[in-house]
């Protein structure tokens, strides 16, 4: 595959961004859909090229294509190159990003139709996709960081897309600042690695780590720094707080953020720099623990939310926790395989939530219900997504989750395995709680809504959901034969039929399927058949319920206690007092002192000759005395 075409994967969305934002505006009417068509065409091109690249990488020796790089900057002994990596990890990520992005862009043609910011929306979506493709393809940590920040910027712009809403503007700012806090660690890690190795090149760093030249505390700190960047972007505990608020953006943006771009970047980064983690037990264990804890922690909040997008948001955090756990205990293939499957079913779920919102005008599940009748396509596809994320055989989520559970049994602290198993139950429960509250029973909304009767969305929105539903069924089959693992560098392959039914000969898949089944059953009992009352259960576990619904008070802790009171209202206010009354006060004090001194001395200037004569006399006398005594 010619290297120009590989560059084109990234340059196509960049050019659609440039065209949409700078060139077409004077020539088209505001209601024109040209911006959408341009973006969709560009991303289709990228998708086609990505598939080609994937095929080429599969055929290439060592699953890697070498692309020549470009010299960018030479300062002193520092030489910085720009270049691309094209290996199995990149190739898989390219396909994920471009497929999900394409589906989201097509869907947005319906969802964003008539929005006054339609052009702006597509310009930023193009840039968002381009930045993520840049992260995936970059061959040096510096370049990854550049695009990484670009992804952060685009998510800022898109979360705050409806910036006239204060909640959206706040959510956008929060997302940027919280993730930047993580980026601080990433940047520090880049500095640390560079100071020790004089390179940003990822392949060289891998080589040094594998050779043992980069080891010990330096390596551990560098890996933890990189991981802190990933924690911010992938919304892991304790930097997860931005993601639920990021719901303020348009729903297709959430689909893109949650499935393929923003949050996937963190997991991808750990996978990309995995050799650094692999050579530091401490770093790898940290990844596994943070992942495992985040998985159950986020799931617990997902249990009680009544906003459909918020449930999905917490499920994303939880699933990202699984991916981190998978990376920590199993390696690149395990974590990335879950990312790969998750991208499709999570994009599908978000698009489904957007479709529901389009029909009902709300995200509050208490005002939904009975939508199965009105929206059969949305219901069917959403159900597939829910079954997949719950890990039901043979959908895609089953295959990747099963591998993570399997590896957490053998690697990492054993507590993580139990947490992950409990999370399986919780995931199935909250997803089917959504299904029953939204699609089951009778329609409860529409009282004052403008919509009256909910209706199925237009085909431009349904088609992407169907495509993603198909992918959510089949994407897991890639590794049924073990081929995904082999492509990623480890594992052996076997026949499809053997792989497909092999889980039933093992204990672990049975346990996880039973747990998921119990979760679904419980949701059915509470929300469909009402055998159990949700309110009764809620009041029985009142403290826990409060803890979950208040999100462990983390927002209050960060925004209220730390930022507002401790820093801006406390320490920084103190510094401001010091600055005004201490530092500047001293300056003004010196000035006032000089003026007062001048005033005092001015009295000596009486203008009377005798007075001056007197002082001259005293002076002369003093000099004589000095000379006499000391001279």
């Amino acid at each position: 595959m010619p290297s120009q075409l590989i560059w084109l994967i990234f340059l196509l969305p960049v050019s659609s961004f440039v065209i949409v934002s700078f060139f077409i505006r004077p020539f088209v009417k505001p209601e024109s859909r040209v911006a959408g068509y341009i973006t969709i065409t560009a991303i289709s091109g990228s998708l086609a090229l990505s598939l080609w690249a994937l095929a080429a990488v599969m055929a290439a020796p060592h699953h890697q294509i070498v692309v020549p790089d470009i010299s960018w900057l030479v300062v002193g002994d520092v030489t910085i190159h720009l270049g691309l990596i094209m290996d199995s990890l990149t190739a898989v990520m390219l396909v994920v990003v471009t497929i999900v992005s394409l589906m989201v862009q097509i869907y947005s043609q319906g969802y964003m139709h008539g929005d006054p910011g339609y052009h702006r929306y597509y310009a930023w979506m193009s840039l968002f996709t381009a930045s993520m493709l840049g992260v995936v393809m970059a061959d040096s940590l510096l370049l990854v960081f550049v695009f990484w920040e670009g992804v952060g910027l685009c998510s800022y712009l898109l979360i705050g897309f409806w910036f006239h809403k204060p909640s959206a503007a706040n959510a956008a700012k929060k997302a940027f600042i919280v993730t930047r806090f993580g980026d601080f660690g990433f940047l520090a890690a880049i500095l640390l690695l560079f100071a020790h190795t004089r390179t940003f090149d990822i392949a060289e760093l891998h080589g040094l780590a594998i050779a043992g030249a980069l080891a010990g505390t330096t390596l551990t700190w560098a890996a933890i720094g990189i991981f802190s960047g990933a924690v911010g972007k992938s919304a892991q505990f304790p930097l997860h707080v931005w993601l639920p608020d990021a719901m303020e953006g348009p729903t297709p943006v959430s689909a893109l953020i949650h499935a393929a771009t923003m949050v996937a970047a963190g997991v991808f980064l750990v996978a990309r720099t995995f050799p650094l983690f692999a050579h530091s037990v401490e770093a790898l264990t940290t990844v596994a623990i943070i992942g495992g804890v985040t998985a159950i922690f986020a799931a617990s909040m997902g249990l009680v939310m009544t906003d459909i997008k918020r449930v999905l948001a917490y499920s994303t955090i939880s699933q990202l926790g699984y991916m981190m756990l998978g990376l920590g205990v199993g390696g690149v293939a395990i974590g990335i395989f879950h990312l790969f499957n998750h991208a499709f079913f999570k994009a599908l779920l978000f698009l489904g939530a957007g479709s529901v919102n389009h029909a009902t005008g709300t995200f509050d599940m208490r005002e939904m219900g009975g939508l199965r009748k009105f929206m059969p396509w949305t219901y069917a596809t959403f159900l597939i997504g829910a079954l997949s994320i719950a890990g039901i055989w043979p959908l895609s989520g089953f295959w990747s989750k099963d591998e993570i559970l399997l590896h957490s049994q053998t690697g990492g602290p054993s507590i993580l395995f139990y947490l992950a198993m409990i999370t399986v139950f919780m995931t199935a429960f909250y997803m089917f709680r959504v299904i029953f509250m939204t699609f089951g029973g009778e329609y409860r909304g529409g009282g004052s809504g403008a919509h009256g009767h909910p209706h199925e969305s237009s085909s431009v929105m349904v088609t992407p959901m169907v495509v993603l539903a198909v992918l959510a069924v089949v994407s897991g089959f890639w590794n049924v034969t073990g081929q995904f693992g082999a492509f990623m560098g480890h594992g052996e392959t076997h026949s499809f039929v053997h792989g497909l039914f092999h889980p039933f000969t093992q204990t672990l898949p049975w346990i996880s399927l039973i747990l998921a089944g119990l979760g679904i059953l419980l949701a059915y009992a509470i929300y469909s058949k009402k055998w159990l009352s949700a309110e009764r259960i809620g009041s029985m576990f009142k403290p826990l319920y409060t803890l979950f619904i208040r999100k462990y008070w983390m927002d209050e802790l960060y925004e209220g206690v730390l930022v507002k009171n401790a820093l801006i209202g406390g320490f920084f206010a103190g510094l401001q007092q010091v600055d005004t009354y201490g530092v500047d006060g001293a300056v003004n004090g010196v000035a006032n002192g000089a003026i007062a001194g001048g005033r005092a001395i001015r009295r000596a200037q009486t203008g009377q000759l005798q007075f001056y004569g007197l002082f001259i006399g005293i002076g002369i006398l003093a000099i004589i005395l000095c000379v006499y005594f000391f001279g």
Binding site: V74, V75, F163, H164, P166, I177, L191, V587
Partner: protein, 494 residues
């Protein structure tokens, strides 16, 4: 070099100022045109020099040397190297832009433009002088136009701020003059080149070198500014007219960083090494303290002014990390900050001018009413928080890489990491400012406010193009800067 480029660049604005001041009966339009022409030609010439600069030589170029006061061995000696040339171009650029920014001035136009041109000339003179006395004279001349610009065309407590600026600066320059005199009486030379080439070590001084170093440094530190001698800056920037703020933040405070490298580090490399820990710690304090105070500001211009304190801390960090890369980063940061903060002040000035409100708690929702200003202001803000593809990222990243890898002293890495925290805080105050100004519900009282007009769009675009150009391809400047930095690193002994 037959043609005296540098003299022409410096004195054309002076000539323009004289014409504006003394030709009777000029119309306002004509005055503005004269000002534009007499700043555009120096800009064109400085860009020409930038292109003509011989990239294979590490010496001063375009030198002009005349004996000036033979009795004290003072010369009219001009020249530029890789360190000063980008700053000359920056100053000439801003000098021209501020004329455009001032197009709507209608109070005492004649004096205003005369002072503005004189201000530009004096800053250009500082960057081109190679003789300490000449350097000092240009340094001092700058105070006068700035004083008048603030006290006549300013706002708020303008008289207070103007006099504070003058007294503060004079305090600093008194120290500097003492330093220059001590140097002269120790070595008998006023030539920066001779002094840097080791004139100092051979002569037994009556004063310890460190004392002279700190006398000179005080003058530069006030200008940069370094905490705790920074308190003139927020007042002066806040109360100056827009063009004054742009010149102050964009070009003028760079004289401090430039002086530190050209005089303090070059002439006293050993002292600089000895005191690097102290100065790097002051840099970290400036970065974090400046950022913390920025987060507390409620006045649009004052917020940007405090952010300058934080951002110039990176310059101090890079300078006294004393490495090739860190010094390059510091020099690039000066250029980058000049562009970014210049644009920030221009946008703040435009917003305040059009909206008539500068209190962040009373602004809001302006993105719908003045979208062009909102977009440009945001781009400048992104530069300020170090977004990649803006010059802010390139400069800060190079500074951090250089400082972290520096071996100036053992705590260098911790100090660098602390300084990096300043970038996190920058995201906080910049985004907060943008949100308070442009986002949120549209406020009715601001309906019908004018967005940027044609001329304003022209200079905004010029700023953005340069910020992105330096951000995407910093080598365009660093390739020149390194020619100026490498001899200095040579003096430092590696």
């Amino acid at each position: 070099m037959d043609f005296n480029y540098l003299t022409t660049i410096i004195f054309l604005p002076v000539l323009g100022a004289i014409l504006i001041a003394f030709i009777p009966g000029l119309s306002a339009r004509l005055i503005k045109r004269i000002a534009a022409i007499f700043t555009l030609i120096p800009l064109a010439l400085s860009v020409f020099l930038f292109c003509q600069f011989d990239r294979s030589l590490v010496v001063m170029q375009f030198q002009e040397k005349l004996s000036w006061i033979p009795a004290i061995n003072a010369h009219y000696h001009l020249g530029v190297d890789g360190l000063s040339l980008p700053l000359v171009v920056l100053t000439a650029f801003l000098g021209f832009i501020v004329v455009l920014i001032s197009w709507k001035i209608n109070l005492r136009i004649r004096e205003y433009f005369a002072w503005l041109l004189l201000l530009e000339a004096s800053i250009l003179g500082v960057f081109c002088s190679l003789d300490l006395l000449l350097f000092f004279i240009f340094w001092e001349i700058e105070v006068i136009p700035m004083y008048f610009l603030i006290s006549v065309w300013g706002s708020g407590r303008k008289e207070y701020s103007a006099i504070k600026y003058v007294v503060y600066t004079l305090f600093g320059s008194a120290m500097m003059l003492a330093g220059i005199l001590s140097l002269y009486f120790t070595t008998g030379s006023l030539s920066m080149i001779e002094l840097a080439e080791g004139g100092l070590g051979m002569v037994q001084s009556i004063m310890p070198a460190a004392a002279i170093f700190f006398l000179l440094l005080t003058g530069f530190a006030v200008k940069l500014p370094v905490v705790p001698v920074h308190t003139w800056l927020p007042d002066a920037h806040t109360d100056a007219p827009t063009a004054g703020s742009v010149m102050l933040a964009g070009a003028l405070i760079k004289m401090g960083g430039y002086g530190m490298i050209r005089v303090c580090v070059s002439i006293f490399p050993q002292v600089a090494r000895d005191y690097a820990p102290l100065l790097v710690i002051l840099a970290v304090i400036s970065v974090l303290y400046g950022a913390a105070l920025t987060l507390r500001q409620t006045d649009l211009k004052r917020l940007i002014a405090y952010s300058s304190v934080s951002h110039m801390g990176f310059v101090l960090l890079g300078v006294f990390a004393l490495g090739q890369v860190s010094l390059t980063g510091a020099a690039l940061q000066m250029v980058s900050h000049g562009l970014i903060t210049g644009l920030l002040f221009a946008m703040a000035g435009l917003t305040i001018h059009n909206v008539g409100e500068r209190d962040l708690s009373k602004l809001g929702g302006l993105a719908r009413q003045i979208p062009i200003i909102a977009v440009v202001f945001s781009i400048a803000g992104l530069g300020g928080l170090g977004m990649p593809t803006t010059s802010g990222f390139a400069a800060e990243f190079i500074t951090f890489i250089g400082s972290f890898s520096s071996t100036a002293f053992s705590g260098m890495q911790v100090c660098t990491i602390l300084a990096v925290l300043g970038v996190v805080l920058a995201a906080g105050y910049i985004l907060w400012m943008l949100q308070r100004t442009f986002y949120g519900p549209v406020l009715e009282q601001y309906n019908g406010i004018k967005d940027a007009d044609g001329l304003e769009r022209v200079y905004m675009s010029a700023f953005i193009v340069l910020i992105m150009l330096v951000g995407i391809y910093p080598a365009i400047i660093t390739d020149i800067i390194k020619l100026g930095i490498s001899p200095i690193v040579g003096l430092l002994g590696g």
